[in-house]
Amino acid sequence: MFRIEMALFAKRWPVVPSVRRIPMSEGREPPQPAAADPERWVDDHGDYLFRYARARLGSVELAEDLVQETLLAALQSVDRFAGQSTERTWLTRILKNKLVDRLRRGGRVQAASDLGDDSDWVDSLYDRGGHWKTPPGRWGTDPVAVLQHREFWSAFERCLMNLPDRLRSVLSQRLLDQVPAPKVCEDLGISANNLWTLLHRARLRLWHCLDRDGLGPLSGGRQV
């Protein structure tokens, strides 16, 4: 009796995935990579790629250009896309490579000047003895709660966008994409120490923006 029931279950289960496939096919990922239809890429993945690029580049125009560049490159190498990953993963990988290319192009020359630029700003946060001039404000005792606030995320986005371009692209490699530090150094042609300096400035600016413009006032009297 028990066995028969199990058999019935076993028969019933395979039905579920095929039911689930229906919304998928009208949504993002078609189950099989059909013949390349680049214009459909724009409809299916354009917004996603755009958001991805914009978070890392800051400007809408640059992000649009990079999406176009990515899809054109994808079209050229479409024969090599064997369908081992999803279409979106494949396109995202191309986009990531394009981002690294950009970083490289700006690389060595700019790295030196980046390092000189910002030290006055960093110094302005501290008094002569190296102590906080204005103490860090209270954000919250419970990080999980802070991360659930919509306000936090809009401040996070705004502050990330406010970073100088170079600092944002370096920081996003580490903070958002978790690219190994040695690889970032290699891409930029800079030493590890230079990378730590750039990252510290970027982190400090992001934190400062969140603290001053975003979360300080928002959390109000609450010990968030």
Partner: protein, 89 residues
């Protein structure tokens, strides 16, 4: 005594690479007596967490409404048509 400025550098650094024992000791001693830097560290870690969360979801939650403008969409499609047509002929 390590000033806050240096402590903040060590806190940032610790998010990217393990500190050596000297750095760990200096930071530990500083944090023992400085609740502002302890707060700064909590906030830095929170930003770190937010960053990896935003990266994992492959977009920033605050940006859900962000989409390609219709003009950009059309422009990109045109470029793709151009290239596809060019490579066939």
């Amino acid at each position: 005594m390590t000033p806050c400025k240096h402590a903040a550098e060590l806190i940032s650094l610790s998010l990217d690479t393990p500190l050596n024992w000297r750095q760990r000791l200096a930071l530990w001693l500083h944090l023992l007596g400085c609740d502002l830097c302890r707060r700064f560290r909590r906030q830095s870690r929170l930003i770190q967490r937010a960053g990896s969360q935003a990266g994992e979801e492959d977009n920033l939650p605050g940006q859900q409404g962000d989409t390609l403008s219709p003009e950009a969409r059309e422009r990109i499609k045109r470029a793709l048509r151009g290239q596809a047509g060019g490579s066939q002929s």
